[in-house]
Structures are given as C-alpha cells and as structure tokens.
Symmetry: C2
Subunit: 421 residues, 2 copies
C-alpha cells in the first residue's frame, strides 16, 4: 500500500519507543516538497549586493548602450570613402583637425580632406563614418598618413548595438552572474528587485548539547549540527534567521516552532522514536507532520511538516543523518523558495566502483566514498554518527531504492563535496 | 624568438599610438603568474565565518569524539550475554532499573538481570555492553521483554570512534566544507587560522565613465567593468579593498597605484595603445610591466606587472575584454593568493560545435556560445564591447593558439557561466 502524503488523510502516529510502521519514499517526499515550495516574494537590493541573487522581475533597458556611435579602435576617424586605394605602396594623407577622446568629443565636423585622432570609446564626430586603426597610420606634422583603406562603417560601434532602450535585458528568475551586474550598471540601474532569501531558523535539541566555549559537562557533546546547517543554509542562498540550542522539553520546542519570523525551520535531533523525541508530537499539535520516516539510510527518522506556510524539517541528530536529510530535502526547499533550481549544488563525476557498495532493495542509500582518479571506495564506518566520514570522503554515491548496491566495476555518478575552485 | 618575461630584461616599450610589437602567449603569462603567486598569510576567524575559507594550518583534535561510549540507538542497554537465545518465539525479560538520556546518564551499574532504557547518544552505563533497539523490546511494568539477541558491543558508539584526541582532523590548505565546520565544532574549536582574503583594489579609468545615479553627461557611459569585477572578486574569494573611478590623468593613476593597502590592483581601461592610455607607462615608472600585450582575442592589450609584491593587472576597457582578461589572469592570481586552486570556477560540459567557430593560428580565442542540449552556436557580435554577448551566452569555448577554429561537428568543452544550483 502506498502511503499518501496529503495532510488531510494522515493522522499523526506517535512512534516513540515503537518504531516506524511505514516510510515514505524519497521520491514521494521530493514530490510533496516540490508541490509545496513556492518562490518567495521580492525585495529591492542595491546593485552592489545583487551578485548571485535571483531576479524577481525582468529588467528593461531605459537607454541605449552605447548611447552614441563610438570608435571601436584607437586611431583616426574620417570619411571612409577618402581612404579608398590606400595601401603600403600608396600611402594617402588627410589634414588632422582635432581629436575625440572618451568623454571629450570633437565639437566640429570632419569635412572632406580631414581626419581627427580618436580613441576607443570616443564619440564619432559629425561627418566621419570610419575609423582607421593607429597601426596603419602615422602623424606627420598637421597631417596623418595612412596605408590602409577603411570602408564606411568600419570600426564604429553603433548606438544601441549592445543594448537597445526598451529591450528586456534579463528575465525574471535569472540568477545574476558577474557580467549581469555589469550589464545592469551599463543601463544605469542602481537597484534591482530580487527574490527574498529564505529565512531559516535552526533549532538543535538535546540535553546533551554544548556550544564550543561553554564549560562542557561530562556526558555532553559539542553541537556540530548547527554549524554544519548554518554553512549549508549559506551555500543554498538562505539567511539564518536565528539559531538556538533547546533542551528536550515540549514547551520549549513548541515555543521555538511557533514564534513568527522564519520561512523554514530546521530541527536537529529528537526527530525519531526515542522517549525524549518530542519534536514530532509537538509539530503534529501545532501544525502538521504528513511525513515521518523515509525509506533511506541514513536519515530514515526524518520528519517533514509545516505550521501554516512555514516548512518544518525534523532532521535526525546523528550528524551524517542530519547532513544527508538536509541535502535531500531541506536544501531542496531552501533553494526553491529562494528562486534557485532544486538540483544538488554538487559537481558530478563518473567513476568506477572498487569494493562492493552494499545497500538493500526498498531504501535509498547515501554512501560516502573515497575517490582515487576514477575509482571509488566506500568509506566503512560504524554509521551515521561518524561525521568525519564526510570530511574524509571526496563525495557520495546514491544507491537507488530498486538496487541492492553496486558491484565492483560498475560505473556510477559521484557527487563531490568540494565546490568549484 | 620567445619573449622572456623576466622583469629584469624587459624594458618598457611605450606602445601608445604605435601598437604592440610582440605579444606574450597565454601559457607564458600563466606560468609567470603561477611562479609569482604565493599564498597569503593567515588570520584567525570565528568558526561562524569559516565556511568556504582555506585552512592556514592543520587542525589537531584536543579531545575524543564522542568523549564517552554512547548508545547508537534508542532502546535498552544491558549485558549482551544475557540476550543470547532471545527471539520472536523465545522472548526474554530483564528488570528495568532506570534510564540513560543524552546529557543525563544513569548513575548506577547495570548488574546481571537488569537493563536500562537508553536513548541515542546517551552514555552507556557501567556494566552494560550492548544496546537492544526499541523495536525488539516491550516494557511490561518494571520489566522489559525482548525478542532479539544482541552480542556485546552491538549498537554502541565507542569513545573516539569519530575523532581521536591528537589526530589531525583537517589539513592545511583545506577549503572548509559545511561538514568541516561541524567537525571543528565537535572538537570544541571556536576559531580557526585561515588564509587571508586577497585585498583587491579596482581602478576604472576613463573620462567617459559615470556611475549609475550620477548625472551622466552627454558622451559619457556608465561604468560596467567595476561592478562586474566586484562580483568576480567576491566569487574568487577576494575582498574589495576599494574601488574608484579615475580620470585619464597620470598623477591620479600613479597615486592610486602606489597607495598601500592592496595585494592586487585591477585597472580597467587605458591599458592599450591610445594617447590617453597612461596606465602602462605609469606602472613601468612606479613598478614593472613585464607583460604588455597577450596573444589572445579579446583582451590582447592586457598588461600585467607589479609594484613590489603588489600584482597589477591592466585590463582592457572593453567590457568583454575586461571580463576575459580577469578570468584568464587576475582571477587565477586572486584564487592562488587566497589559497584556492588556480583552475577556473566554471562548470564544464562536452558539446558539439554547430556553426563553425573561427579563430586564427597564434592566438587563443574566447568565444561566447549559445547552448542547446549538447550543441553550441557561437554568438556573432561586433566585438569585445558587447557585454550582452556574455549575458546571452550559456558559456564560452576556448580555441587554443595552434588551431584555426573548430569545424562543425567537433566535440569541444564548454565552460558554463552559470554556477551550481
């Protein structure tokens, strides 16, 4: 029987100390998320902070670029027809009557028999219709001698040839490249309307958690999930709304879940079936928890629900599970709310399986691997609590639910943890 | 004759209004840069701002993670030997004498005939040596019945199994991943020593330049190079030290070049052979300009020099040339000074050439292309002044100096402008 994921028909199962009865598939969860994730509204930011942001509306040029005909070369401007026949063995000459510099145009007219000195980007003066590059010319007193012919129109950049006024230069949804920011500046844009960054709240639950710098009590551990999540949120274009450590207490968790201000809430720890795992029950009370338990390893105790429009992710406390559940589900939502693509922000590489990768039919497996040239070796660990498995690994391989694993020699796709240079 | 690029033997050629006599190859320039670029010194940053930074020294763990033996499951801890023979048809029972929660350990000892309730992450009490998962157990009054056997050691995470005190957890030169930041937190690290960000000064020269928001005069254009460069510097891990528009004036350029505070200076515009191109001569006076003119298109009038240890890049003013020269040379230097890899931060994709891509033997060509599934089409433009060619393009193709171009049907590598999702 397929589990349905509609909010309405899924009562909350309290799984504490009993275990999950049925688990959603990774595909079902992603479908549910994709159907629910709508791009957030817009905000106006200055061009100086627009790089990498996603345009919320198209940008239409209000002026031509360039705003005037200009020289594409350093050289001399003249009437092109007067250069006809010029060559190395037939140098011609014109009278030099002035110059046009960028921002300091020649005020007169280039009449028959005359030329002006002109620099790249300088306005083409009235009368001239071609520019002869400096390497084909030589100034001799008040004249310029030239050894090449330039047809009318040569080496002139026409008004509006880069951008024409009225043109849509960038479409809504565009993630701004460095050169996009430059192009926007070239049409005089000072600020742009971009998709808001998703505001993400991080709640790490657990009486055992301490923060580096605190006086760690015996039997406490330092919270590693919050720092990892902060970096992942930054990577995916989210904005950290707030981050708190919470003790295993229903009231504290309920208060932190229901406080307004976040678009997405990530709860790490306490998502599973332990007696102190309050988050699932609390979320069911204050909102809805249509997904609890996913057919994957690690991260199987992941829960996903919402409080009104706020998406809530219950991420397992084990650090590898937390990272994996974030990457499969929470990151996907953050990227989509922020107007980015849902795909993984990981480089991919084809590689050959060395030692066998073991999984089980019916669950998706997230397997950390070492990479040596084009061969991978799974990292054997005792489980999802070993965060160093993800720092020693070059990346990970996904074993789909329909496979028992990968035999040695299989070619697979590896997702690399390291970013582009 | 190969041009040598040693500072000592290259006098400055004033190429103004004469043109370049000889050009360095792209390979020579990259070699010169790689030999000169040394990773900058270190600074200490808080862990909260360490994501993406490059470690300046290895990090050695000062404690074990976990710092105690702990349960890997929610369930019951006991002496494993006492579970031998338990099964669905042979449930066994032990007396429940307490519980161990994360951060709230069981203070007593698990003696023969007893068990305690235990949660994932909670300390294993004295006497116990195995954890039985909750799904194989049932509490009945003061007893726990279980239907599976657990050998000693099962479901226990050993002290130090993730990180052992004294171990080097991350090496110098590591660009910190999200999970690296988490791992550092797990060993109690609050701040780390990372490579300084290269401080980059941007000088846009030209009397024709205006800034969006200014009252643009006739025959002025809005500066697009500075905003593009700011974004590129951010992408490559640099820090914008300052950014200024300068008029075409030797003294102003000399002052801006020699003011201390930058590791790298980018000058856009005025790098070529025009009468108002002062930057090359000024740089030769106040420092050295061993490279001026590169065998490539666009960006051929690129100059690269230094003032003491400060690298100075003279980038052509045409916006595509400026972008291209940055990407070939300045970005490479910024990344290396910051401890990153020199490689391009662009995704790569194999694709088939549609219409012919034209180049010339002896120069490297940077050709913007459209991409449709796996076919590319060059974007035909009138040249390097058309910045919109780089916003309409999916990416670019490099034609090496030894080729005349690419024939239709050739498989080539495309560098994609858009980043990972």
């Amino acid at each position: 029987m397929q589990r349905t994921l509609d909010d309405g028909c899924c009562g909350f199962d309290d799984v504490r100390m009993r275990g999950f009865r049925e688990r959603a598939t990774v595909g079902q969860v992603c479908e549910w998320l994709d159907a629910r994730c709508r791009t957030l509204g817009s905000e106006v930011v200055s061009l100086a902070s627009a790089f990498g942001r996603v345009l919320a509306s198209p940008v239409i040029a209000s002026l031509d670029v360039p705003p005037f005909d200009r020289s594409a070369m350093d050289g001399f401007a003249m009437r092109g027809a007067e250069t006809t026949g010029a060559g190395d063995y037939n140098p011609l000459a014109l009278r030099l009557i002035g110059q046009s510099l960028p921002g300091r145009p020649f005020a007169g007219e280039v009449v028959v028999g005359t030329a002006i000195r002109i620099m790249t980007g300088a306005p083409i003066p009235s009368g001239a219709d071609a520019v002869l590059p400096a390497e084909f010319a030589r100034e001799v007193g008040e004249r310029v001698e030239f050894t090449a012919a330039m047809a009318p129109g040569r080496n002139i950049g026409r008004r509006g040839e880069d951008v024409a006024a009225g043109q849509t230069v960038l479409e809504s949804g565009r993630r701004l490249r460095p050169q996009d920011v430059g192009l926007l500046a070239s049409i005089g844009v000072q600020s742009v309307s971009v998709v808001k960054r998703p505001r993400v709240r991080v709640l790490a639950t657990g009486d055992e958690l301490a923060v580096p710098g605190d006086d760690r009590k015996p039997f406490q551990i330092f919270d590693s999930n919050s720092p990892t999540l902060h970096a992942l949120i930054e990577r995916d274009g989210g904005e950290l709304e707030s981050s708190r450590l919470l003790i295993d207490d229903r009231a504290a968790i309920a208060a932190a879940l229901t406080e307004p201000g976040a678009d997405i809430i990530l709860v790490s720890g306490g998502s599973s079936v332990g007696a102190e795992d309050h988050a699932p029950a609390v979320l069911s009370e204050v909102g809805a928890l249509p997904i609890h338990g996913v057919a994957m390893r690690p991260s199987s105790p992941t829960g996903i629900g919402h409080i009104g429009d706020v998406l809530v992710f219950l991420l397992p406390g084990n650090p590898v599970s937390c990272l994996c559940a974030y990457d499969f589900f929470a990151g996907r939502a953050i990227r989509q709310l922020g107007g980015r693509l849902s795909d993984w922000p990981y480089l991919r590489q084809r590689a050959i399986v060395g030692s066998k990768i073991v999984s089980a039919v019916g669950r998706v497996d997230y397997c950390r691997v070492r990479l040596e040239s084009d061969r991978i070796e799974p990292i054997s660990t005792s489980g999802a609590s070993i965060l160093s498995s993800t720092t020693r690994a070059a990346g990970f391989v996904i074993v789909p639910a329909e496979l028992e694993g990968y035999a040695p020699g299989t070619e697979v796709e590896v997702f690399l943890y390291d970013p582009l240079p």
